[in-house]
Amino acid sequence: MNRILEIDIDNIQVMVEPGIIQDALNDALKPYGFFFPPNPGSSAMCTIGGMIAYNASGMRCVKYGTTRNYVRDLEVVLADGTIIHTGSKMLKSAAGYDLTQLITGSEGTLGIVTKASLKIAPLPQTRKLVIASFENAEIAGQAVVKTFSKGVIPSACEILDRVSLQVLRRYDPKLVLPSEGDVLLFEVDGTESSAREAAEQIMKICSPLALSIKLAESENEMADIWAARKLVGAAVSRLDPTKTRIYVGEDVGVPIKKVPELLKKAQEISEKFNLPAMKYGHIGDGNLHLALFIDVLNKDEWDRLSKAADLIHRTAIELGGTVSSEHGVGAARAEYMEAQWGSALEVMRAIKKALDPKGILNPGKLGL
């Protein structure tokens, strides 16, 4: 179940089995000058099936969108064993419900994906990386809002707060990163001249707010920063071996304009419950990874952790956002579905019941 069945460059798409690893797919597409753009931090280990089930996205979705923007057709085995196709190779279709989109992001609760046709995109000629540091995360958030409102859309826009930077330095001491403040990484891509122009524009827009701002000097420097960024979430123990990062409240998202407010509230929550936190994430699409870390052998810290996570989820909903931007709801966040969706959740429950009346597919997931 991990084969590439067809690379169809004429139709700019590929057909794969769901077990293929994202990086392996992109390695195969590279010689053709194409790529499958959604790139979660887990791209070296996650499967296309998992990405479809969770509508995974990652760092470049600001410009390229999420997995659902690339799924054309799925072969799905339903709960009763029926095999269906949800789409075709067509770019568009006005015939019937869009089952492709229904299955994408359904977390395996409606059927098992056994084949997928995916749109691919041409590899950009070049990428450039602007690294800017700010007095605090809130000001960094303002810089993002300002950049977007001036019409510049980077291919990635990430925030790493000062704790994340400390962790990264421990993880890879060779990394060249600003020594103070909270940092934004803006990646732009395109032709040499369009990328340079966009990078210069970002530097001009952000300079008045920034403590420091610079362009990454080489491809290697960029690659090292991205590689470390991908794994920062798991690396907290490098700072303090008695602490473990616990994945709760780690994936909230809000509309881009509310990002500075979310950052402020996240800081307040971390202080209120006296829990150290690392803030990083895909700030360009309003997705913040708040990494709370605790001593797993300490019960009091577990209690404070679950209260802090609860508050961060409710805060995101209040700000018009979501409890999960890309990691999915699963069982861990099922209790918030009601608060986030209200009566729309009943529609989801009706769909689940129609397609999986016995509740055999990923039971307990999504709060259905």
């Binding site: 179940m1 991990n2 077990g19 293929i20 690893i21 990086d23 392996a24 390695d27 887990s42 070296a44 280990m45 996650c46 499967t47 993880y171 794994l231 920062v232 979430g233 798991a234 690396a235 907290v236 123990s237 490098r238 071996p241 008695t242 473990t244 990062r245 616990i246 994945y247 797993v296 052998l297």
Partner: protein
């Protein structure tokens, strides 16, 4: 290197075929250092590098799966034989530990978990065979011959009783590759190095597979021998013996690997230049576990041209011979070796390594290029 997920291979099936021994009436309390287990945040980075997962493809056969299983045992799941295929199939190669962003040390956790399973009376037949060989015959191969059979009686009788330096030969060089032992000792003798009067297995196979109490007895025996000879330094040519003597023996033994010893004495060895191109395989227990990367390369480059493999040093891929996997799961073990051979560059005359277990596994994998120990290359350059 990239792992690509589940495979329908014979190797995957081998995991279910093992024979298991469950001793009734044993206590089922499972305890390992919790913090070392909880360090794992299940990010899956190790999934992309675990060589066993690469050939088996099941989540339970990769590091993350093993850590999850150990966590569930800590949290109350009763230890049973069901966990053996997962826990017994780790080669302890350590590439997961090198890559883990959280700084977890999975092979250490796996070894501790295996020790707990042994305490609970849950083992594979292969493990039991290995233990019984070591405890009965003093070597992991079940050999009954004199361990110094590769020396003549006269040579044996002339061994110095006291010396600052001892050559720890190891089970493999003693019984499978006595020619390596001869060549090594020929050089070391020039420096007054002697042998232990009654060397036994270093205890590595016991430690890696969970028989800690038995291992302690053997280690004690070897330590007594070392004290008897009065040696302050042990030289060994086996990566498994090296890491065990250095990191598991009590006290602070000074242990030197053969490549380090050779590199230090290069000038005195008067090696000839050979018109050869070779590649070098880093044994996991010498390289990743103990960071000995430069010494073997220095020795090789003093003799001939070195052309590196695709994945080297910290990134080096396991030959499949360690952690009890060769004896427990020979098909998986040899598939790992075949995968490692894919990293060999074009146009080399030999694959050189510095561990007899790696020599055996890579040879048994059946490639076209001859696999030799570093001592053989050195011996060629001294002819």
């Amino acid at each position: 290197m990239k792992n690509e997920g589940k495979k329908e291979t014979e190797q995957a099936k081998e995991l279910d075929k093992i024979e298991i021994r469950v001793e009734k009436g044993k206590e089922k309390l499972f305890e390992v250092d919790r913090r070392s287990v909880y360090k794992c945040v299940q990010c899956g980075t190790c999934r992309s590098v675990c060589p066993v997962f690469d050939v088996v493809g099941w989540e339970s056969a990769n590091t993350r799966g093993r850590m999850l299983i150990i966590k569930s045992l800590l949290e109350g799941t009763l230890p049973s034989e069901d966990v053996l295929p997962s826990l017994a199939s780790c080669t302890t190669c350590g590439i997961c530990a090198a890559k883990c962003p959280a700084g977890a040390n999975p092979p250490e956790v796996v070894e501790a978990a295996r020790a707990q399973l042994v305490k609970c009376g849950i083992t594979t037949e292969a493990q039991e065979k290995l233990k019984s060989a070591v405890m009965t015959y003093g070597n992991s191969l079940g050999e009954t011959q004199n361990r110094k059979h590769w020396l003549s009686e006269i040579e044996r009788s002339q061994l110095p009783e006291k010396s600052d330096y001892v050559y720890f030969v190891g089970c493999f060089d003693s019984y499978r590759y006595p020619e390596f032992a001869k060549k090594t000792f020929k050089i070391l003798q020039r420096y007054g190095v002697t042998l232990l009067p009654d060397e036994q297995c270093c205890a590595s196979p016991l430690l890696r597979t969970g028989f800690r109490e038995d291992a302690e007895k053997i280690m004690e025996h070897n330590l007594e021998q070392i004290i008897q000879v009065g040696a302050h330094t042990i030289i060994t040519s086996c990566a498994g013996c090296y890491t065990t003597l250095k990191n598991n023996y009590p006290g602070e033994l000074r242990v030197i690997s053969l490549p380090e010893f050779l590199a230090e004495h290069l000038d005195e060895l008067k090696l000839k230049k050979l018109d050869l191109t070779v590649t070098y395989h880093d044994p996991c227990h010498l390289g990743r576990h103990n960071k000995i990367y430069d010494a073997p390369r220095k020795v090789i480059q003093a003799i001939c041209t070195l052309k590196e493999m695709k994945n080297i040093k910290e990134e080096s891929r396991c030959c499949g011979g360690g952690g009890g996997v060769r004896i427990g799961y020979p098909d998986i073990s040899l598939e790992l070796a075949r995968n490692r051979l894919k990293d060999v560059p074009e146009g080399v005359d030999y694959i050189v390594t510095s561990c007899p277990l790696c020599v055996r596994n890579l040879r048994d994998a059946g490639g076209d290029i001859e696999v030799i120990d570093i001592i053989e290359l050195v011996a060629m350059a001294m002819e």
